[in-house]
Amino acid sequence: MKNEISFRISGQNGDGIFSSGEVFSKICSRSGLHVHGYRSYQSVIRGGHVNYSVRAANWDVAAPANYIDVLIALRPDSFIVDAPHMSDDGIILYDSKGFRIKPENVKVKEGVRVVDMPAVELAAQFSNLKIVANTVFLGAVVAIFNLDMSVFEKMLADNFASKGEEVVRVNVESARAGYNWAKENLEPLQLDITIDPNAEPKMFIGGNEALALGMLIGGLQFYAWYPMTPASPVGHFIAKYGELAGVVCKQMEDEINVSNSVVGAAVAGARAACATSGGGFALMTEAIGYASMVEAPVVYIEVARGGPSTGLPTKQEQGDLRQLLGASQGDYPRAIIAQTSVEDGIILGQEALNIAEKYQMPVIIASDLYMGEHFETIPEPDPEAIPIERGKLILDEVPEEMRPYKRYLVTEDGISPRTIPGVKYGQYDAGSDEHDEFGKLISDVRAGYPESIKIRIEQMNKRMRKMETLLKELPAPTAEGHPPEDADVLLVTWGSLLDITREARRELETQHGKRTAHLNIRYIEPFHSKEVKEILESYQKAGAKIILVENNYTGQMGQHIRMKTGFEIKDKYLRYDGETILPREITSAVLEILNR
C-alpha cells in the first residue's frame, strides 16, 4: 500500500496542463496533505510537450516522486516522455477518440494499466470547450485516489466564481461526470493516506515566490529585473504584490542596468534586490564588484538553468557556482548562500537582506530551476520571526564627534558607519576607485605615494575583514544522520539537493539497510573550511564512503570544497542532462558505488 499520491498530467503547451496540475495540487492541499508540485516545460510558447507532476502525502514530501501512479496522457508524446516513468502498477488515462492518440503510440511497460476514457465525450455534454475534458479527467483522478469530491467541487466554485454561476456549474458537472465514470469503471488505488476534507489548507507556493515573499517580509524597498527563465517568477511576484505593498518594482532594459540600478538604490538607502539566471548574471558581475567596493548592500539572486550559454533554458542544472564565485575582478567581500528549500526561501529572503545591510556588501543567492520552479506546501510565514537588522546606519544627522564624516572608517570588524543621502553632515562620494576613509580617490593623482599605498592596504584589509566577521556570525554546517563511527556513507550536496537527498537517504535506510549521513552546503562564501574539513575527515577516518552528488558536469561544489579544505571527494554522482535528480536515482548511484 502506498502512503503517497503521485500524479502527472502531460500534453502540449496550450492544453491547460499547468492549471490542471495546480488545481490538483490544491485539491490535495485542501485535503490536509503535504504537496509537492513540479512542472516541465519547453522554450517554445505553444505546442511543446509539457507536464505537471503532483506528489502528496501525510508527511512532508519535499522531492519529486520516483514514479508516477496516475498519468493523464493528453498527447501521443506522453507515451514517449512520461509513460517510461510509470510505477509498475500505474494507471494511464487517455482518450483515444478525443485526442486521437493512435494505438501504436501506446507503448508501456508490463503491469501499467492504460485506460481509454471518453473524457471529451463526457465533457461535450456540458461544454464544447476542449479544456473542460481536463476537468473530467481530474474528476476521475479524484476518484482513483479516493479523494473527497467536495473539495474539488469547492475549488472549482472558488476558481470560477468570478466567471459566473454557469461556468461553475459546467465545471462541477464535468468533474462529477469524470468522477462517476471512474467509480463505475475503475478500481481505486489502495492507499494508506488520511484525507481530511475539512483540513486547514496549507500555503502552496513555489521556491521563487517564497524567496520573493521572504524579501517582502524582510523589508525590501526596490526590486529591479529583466525577464529571464527561470528567475522571472520572482519579478512577476513582486510586480504584482510588491508594488501594492510599497515596493518599487522596475523592469529595466537589461541585466547590466538592473545590476547597477540596485547599487544606486542601495546607496540611496533602499533595501534592494534583483534576480536573473546564468547569462543575465554574467552581465551583472561588473556591478557586483562595484557594489562591494562602494560598500552598498544589495541582494543578487541567481536561479541557474542548464548551461553553458543559452543552453537548456527550461532545464535544471547547478552549473553556475563557478560563475558566482568568479563574479567580477579583484578580491572583494561578498556572501554567497544557496537556497535549500521552498520554505528556506522565506528565511533566506530576509537573512540575505539583513546580511547585505549589516555588512554593507553584496549577497548572492544561489538557486536553480528546480528550486525556484517547484512548489510545496509550507507553513504560513510569521512576519515577525526575523528582525530587520540594518547595522551601522546613521539616519539622523551625523553626530558632531564623527565629523568630518568618514564613510569608510577603518574599524576592527571591517564595517564603517554608513549614511544615506538626506542625512546632514553625512555627504560622501561612493566611488568605485580605491579611496581613503573619506571616500576620496587615491588612484587618480596619488597612486604609488607611500601614504596612498598605506591607505590602499588598510582599505583592502578593512573590506576583507568583513568576511571574517560574517563567518563568525554564520552557523557552521553539520552533517545530519548517522555519526561518523556509525555511517556507511556520507552524501555531500548543496542547495536544492537537500530534500531530494534526504529522501534518497530514507530509501537507503529503510529499503536497503544503509546507515547514511548527509552534509548539505548552504553558506558558500564565506565558507566554514575548518568545520567542513573536520566533518569530511571524521567520516573518512571512520571508514564511511563519501559521495558527492551534484547537478553539473564538473562537480563544482566538490571543487570548491577541495579548494577550501584540500579534501577531495573521489566518488561522485554528477548529472548534467537537464533533468532533476530523483531520490531513487541517488539511491541507486549510492548503492552502485557502495557495491563497487
Binding site: 517580509i217 515596493v247 518599487v248 529595466m252 542596468n257 540600478s261 533602499a270 538626506g422 555627504q427
Partner: protein, 299 residues
C-alpha cells in the same frame, strides 16, 4: 529639495564645494566650465546639497561628483543612468544630477541613457561632450567627427558620429538642450532650466578636451555657436527641434540653448508603489502591511 524662503540665501557656493583642493582636470579643460556653471545653477535654485545626489560613470568628466557638494556616486563606466534610476526611484525626493562623458553616456552607456530618458524620471543628465575618450588618452568617442585622427583611428575615423540632440529627442526626453563650456553665463542658465524642468532633462555640454582633441577646440566652437534664445525657435515644436539638431552637420553652425521642452507626467507621479506608503527610503523598510491579502492567493 528646493528651499522655500524666497529671499534668504540658505545655500551658497561654499555648500557646493568639496575639500578636494582642485579638480584633477588638465588646465583649460572644458569640464571646469561645467562644474562652475552647475554650482551656480544649484545655488540660484537654492537646492539643498544634503538632498542632492550627483552621479557619474568613469572618465575624466566622471570625476565630477568629487568636486561638487552633495552626495555623490562615482559608479562604473557607462552606468551612471541606471544608478540614477535606482536612486531616484528609491528616494524620489532627491535632486538627482547625472554628469559624465560622451563615451560614458553615448558609447557604452547608450542603452541606459535612452531607456532612462523615455522613463521621464525627474533627473538632469549632463553629457560632458568633448568628442573624445579623454581618460584613456584619446581614442574616438561616439561623437568624434568623421575623419578624426585619434589613437584608435590613426588613419582617420570612418564612422558617422551620433547626434546627441536627435538621439535625445528620439529617446523621448522631455527637455533637450545644448550649451558650451566657453560661455559660462549661457551654461548656468541652461543648467538652471534643466534642473528646474520636471522630467528627464538632457544637456549636451560642449566641453573641449584641450589635451587630446585638437580639432573641436574652444575656437572651433566659438566660430560656430549661436544662441537659440536669440532666434524665434519654438521649443515646443519637436520637428523644429530635429531640424536644429542637424544644423551642425549640414550647415556647420552649432546652435546652443534649449531645443525642446515639453511637460509630461513624470514616472514618479505615476509610480504605484508610492501611492499608499510614500517615499520608500524616507519611510524605511517595512513588513508588507497587507501580507494576508498577498498570501491568500497561495491557498
Amino acid at each position: 529639495m528646493v528651499a522655500t524662503q524666497q529671499n534668504v540665501q540658505l545655500f551658497t557656493q561654499k555648500d557646493w564645494k568639496t575639500d578636494v583642493a582642485k579638480p584633477t582636470w588638465c588646465p583649460g579643460c572644458g569640464d571646469y566650465g561645467v562644474l562652475s556653471a552647475t554650482r551656480k545653477a544649484l545655488v540660484e535654485l537654492q537646492i539643498d546639497p544634503t538632498d542632492t545626489l550627483v552621479i557619474s560613470g568613469i572618465g575624466c568628466s566622471s570625476n565630477f561628483p568629487h568636486f561638487i557638494g552633495g552626495y555623490g556616486i562615482h559608479s562604473v563606466h557607462g552606468r551612471a543612468a541606471p544608478n540614477a534610476v535606482g536612486a531616484k526611484l528609491s528616494n524620489p525626493d532627491l535632486t538627482v544630477i547625472v554628469a559624465g562623458g560622451d563615451g560614458d553616456g553615448l558609447g557604452i552607456g547608450l542603452g541606459g541613457f535612452v531607456h532612462a530618458a523615455r522613463r521621464n524620471l525627474d533627473i538632469t543628465y549632463v553629457i560632458m561632450d568633448n568628442q573624445i575618450y579623454g581618460l584613456t588618452t584619446g581614442q574616438t568617442s561616439p561623437t568624434s567627427l568623421l575623419g578624426a585622427k585619434t589613437k584608435s583611428t590613426p588613419y582617420g575615423n570612418i564612422e558617422r558620429p551620433i547626434n546627441p540632440i536627435s538621439m535625445a529627442l528620439a529617446a523621448e526626453a522631455t527637455f533637450v538642450a545644448r550649451t558650451f563650456s566657453g560661455d559660462a553665463k549661457h551654461f548656468a542658465e541652461v543648467m538652471k532650466r534643466a534642473i528646474a524642468h520636471k522630467g528627464f532633462a538632457i544637456v549636451d555640454a560642449l566641453s573641449p578636451c584641450v589635451t587630446f582633441n585638437k580639432f573641436n577646440t574652444y575656437d572651433y566652437f566659438r566660430e560656430r555657436v549661436y544662441k537659440l534664445e536669440e532666434t524665434d525657435h519654438d521649443t515646443s515644436d519637436l520637428m523644429a527641434a530635429f531640424k536644429k539638431a542637424y544644423e551642425w552637420e549640414f550647415e556647420d553652425k552649432v546652435p546652443i540653448g534649449v531645443f525642446y521642452e515639453v511637460q509630461r507626467p513624470t514616472y514618479e507621479e505615476q509610480e504605484l508603489a508610492y501611492k499608499e506608503f510614500g517615499n520608500p527610503v524616507k519611510r524605511g523598510p517595512q513588513r508588507p502591511p497587507n501580507l494576508k491579502k498577498i498570501i491568500k492567493d497561495f491557498y
